[in-house]
């Protein structure tokens, strides 16, 4: 048994003369090329929609680090999204900070908030943590209207943001530029997340998720890791919130209702838990399924949404990413028979 295992690792399978790693690199390069070419072939409205897909995929990646890899359930990430969005909006509107500089600020604000929230939340497990985070998500819209912060948040009216122009006289319009800018941030965030999760830290997170006592016994500082994961997850969400605010050009308490948080959670489950690519599938779901539901029925759009959701859960229990992985494995096996 162990012999055959060694042969598999030493003799890497090749497809058309290339190892899977090279195929993956080619696939990713093609995907990136496609993503860059996209805004030059679509209307501004479609660019705007795909821009939001990019934004949501950053949120879902952050949430997946927390829930998929570390096993902590959050039903309140809409709150961090709101904090990120408001940080960007207030900095731009009140202090004239350029839009690109608000992104790291929003990330930092959420890292700190997330870490601090993660400290007491550590004592809570499973359902209780889910409820605690949900409480955060539910209260956020009302906190934003609180009279002592109204000077900055603009109360119910919210804050209108001016759309940034493309820099250096680039021959692209504002929507195309914003899309490419978001894409760059997203790619950077994905690379960082991948490196984080594929290494020692990622293994520690998974160990804490699967068996916290064993992880502690192996010398993993569970408490610290869990709070930090919460912070990093919030950071991702905050960066996305800032980008989302700039794309939509407006923030208001009504933009960040509790359903936003639930929507994010649905996104990671549909996309695929503990999967980096799953974030993109989930983001596509969040962005396009409500529109699809609205087109089917004005009388009961949420019933259609629910039906689609059920369909996904039944047909792809491991999410879209899990489904594709399975399909790919089957395909490879069929192809491997010929060899």
């Amino acid at each position: 048994m162990s012999d055959s295992a060694t042969t598999i690792t030493t003799l890497e399978p090749r497809y058309a003369g290339l190892p899977p790693r090279a195929w993956r690199a080619i696939g990713l390069a093609l995907l990136l090329g496609f993503a860059i070419a996209l805004p030059f072939h679509l209307s501004n409205y479609r660019i705007f929609q795909f821009n939001l897909v990019l934004v949501y995929s950053i949120v879902l990646l952050g949430l997946n680090i927390l829930t998929g890899y570390n096993g902590q359930i959050s039903l309140g990430h809409g709150a961090f999204y709101a904090i990120g969005a408001y940080t960007a909006a207030i900095l731009m509107d009140r202090y004239g900070v350029p839009y690109w500089a608000t992104i790291p600020a929003a990330g930092l604000a959420c890292l700190v908030t997330g870490f601090l929230f993660g400290l007491p939340a550590l004592r809570l497990h499973g359902h209780h943590l889910a409820l605690a985070t949900f409480a955060l998500g539910v209260s956020m819209p009302q906190l934003l209207k609180y009279k002592h912060v109204e000077r900055w948040t603009g109360g119910v009216q919210g804050i209108v943001i001016v759309k940034p122009d493309p820099p250096f006289g680039l021959p692209v319009n504002a929507d195309q530029w914003l899309y490419l800018f978001t894409l760059a941030v997203m790619v950077a965030m994905f690379i960082v997340a991948r490196n984080l999760l594929r290494g020692r830290i990622g293994r520690a997170l998974v160990a804490i998720r699967d068996h916290p006592i064993a992880a502690e016994a192996m010398g993993v500082h569970a408490a610290l890791y869990k709070s930090l994961t919460f912070g990093v997850s919030a950071l991702y969400t905050g960066v996305a919130g800032a980008l989302g605010a700039i794309v939509v050009q407006f923030v208001a308490p009504d933009s960040f209702t509790a359903f936003l948080s639930i929507g994010f959670f649905i996104g990671i489950v549909v996309g695929g838990l503990a999967s980096i690519s799953g974030a993109i599938y989930g983001a596509l779901f969040i962005q396009f399924v409500p529109n699809f539901a609205d087109e089917i029925s004005k009388a009961a759009p949420w019933a259609i949404y629910g039906a689609v959701l059920l369909l996904f859960i039944y047909l792809m229990p491991a999410g879209v990413a899990g489904f594709l992985r399975l399909a790919w494995a089957r395909l490879a096996r069929v192809a491997g028979i010929g060899k």
Binding site: Q49, Q142, G244, F250, A252, D254, D294
Partner: protein
């Protein structure tokens, strides 16, 4: 000679045809047979009760189309769900303007939702017509010439009360309870402006509450202690009901006004106690479909027949269905006035050129008037007093 006449007639006919051709001016969304109108409404989400407005408007346009349309053009009413979420409004409105290429956006609903698209619509120069919100900021033609409200603004409503007080109780000592947000402050500003220089003297106490407060009991007690004899309750339904009950329970008997938002008998006055609500004053502008005094009113009978034919699953007790009917009728009037010049610019010009336009389902005597400097279509209301069962109209129509 005969040929000459024929020739002359022929030339004249050609010239006339050319003139008609030349008069036809279209912007995106218009053809010889169709006008595309866009709309967003919360069909899902926390505010989905407002969805009745979008549905009744769609039903009204269906009736207009059955009657042959407006100047021979059918209305293609594209209404999309935004779930009362501003980012979704932005997305859906961009779809309507950029993909669907609608001539104009009509009755997009909600103050935050409309704020989110305010700049966009004006930068794109696409009419954001008759928005479904009472905030006062929509009538600002100098800075936002492509946006116009419809219903009486919160400030206009307060002007009506102020006018009444200045005439009938000029020495009133006024106490005000208001919600501490833009909504409440909009109303408060309306009262101050309406009373003018007398405001300083007449308003003796203002108390605000937060939407997160459990009750407004302490505010009511504080307002009573000020010695006021007149009370304004500027609240949302839940708090209005609390305030009405508390005023009665502590034995305070001021002349009490309650704002139009909180006049529902079922949602406000019944929870407060009908006997405790006797004597309250408010201002109305739409005929209430549950009010028996309109049971034999021809306009309301026509409305009911329309409901049965075009919107059978709609609730005939829901005032939103009267509202949707009335505002859709206003748009049809604007489109009629546009004739064959269906450019966005002319749409705004005609919307700002409504003169004494009457809508039968509004209270008798209330007329719509606009001008290039007046972007507030409805500014008139009539006062009504609650008699323990229903709102009884009194006095003349007030407002500009």
């Amino acid at each position: 000679m005969k040929n000459g006449v024929l020739l002359a007639v022929g030339i004249a006919a050609c010239a006339a045809a050319a003139a008609v051709q030349a008069e036809k001016k279209y912007d995106p969304g218009v053809t010889d047979t169709e006008i595309k109108i866009g709309n967003t409404n919360p069909y899902s989400g926390p505010a989905s009760a407002y969805g009745a407005i979008g549905r009744s408007e769609a039903a009204y346009f269906k009736m207009i189309n059955d009657q042959g349309g407006v100047n021979g053009r059918k209305i293609d009413f594209i209404t999309l769900d935004d779930g009362y979420s501003p980012p979704r409004t932005v997305e859906q409105v961009r779809k309507l303007v950029e993909e669907e290429q609608v001539l104009l956006l009509f009755q997009s609903l909600g103050t935050p939702s409309n704020t989110a698209i305010h700049q966009y619509m004006n930068a794109k120069k696409v009419p954001q017509l008759f928005v479904a919100t009472g905030a006062t900021k929509w009538g600002d033609p100098e800075h936002f010439p492509w946006t116009m409200g419809w219903q009486p603004s919160y400030q206009a409503e307060m002007h009506v009360y102020a006018k009444y007080l200045l005439k009938h109780k000029p020495n009133a000592r006024i106490a005000v309870l208001y919600q501490n947000d833009d909504y409440g402050k909009d109303y408060l500003k309306g009262l101050h402006d309406g009373l003018g220089p007398r405001a300083e003297k007449m308003i003796v106490k203002e108390a605000s509450y937060e939407v997160t407060d459990p009750t407004v009991d302490s505010q009511i007690v504080a307002l009573q202690a000020s010695g006021a004899d007149t009370l304004f309750i500027v609240a949302t339904p839940k708090f209005a009901a609390q305030a009405i009950r508390k005023v009665y329970d502590i034995g305070w008997k001021p002349l009490a006004f309650v704002n139009n938002v909180s006049t529902s008998v079922a949602a406000v006055l019944q929870p407060a106690g009908l006997e405790k609500s006797v004597g309250l004053i408010t201002a109305l502008y739409v005929k209430d479909p549950t009010d028996p005094q309109w049971a034999n009113d021809p306009a309301m009978k026509r409305w009911l027949a329309w409901m049965k034919k075009y919107y059978p699953d709609g609730d005939v007790k829901d005032g939103f269905n009267v509202y949707g009917y009335a505002v859709a009728q206003t748009l049809v009037q604007v489109l009629k006035q546009c004739g064959d010049n269906l450019t966005r610019e002319n749409v705004m010009r005609q919307a700002a050129n409504l003169k004494n336009f009457e809508i039968p389902v509004l209270l008798p005597g209330i007329r719509i008037n606009t001008s290039p400097t007046d972007f507030y279509p409805l500014e008139q209301m009539q006062l009504a007093r609650f008699d323990g069962k229903r709102w009884v109209l009194f006095g003349e129509v007030l407002g500009r």
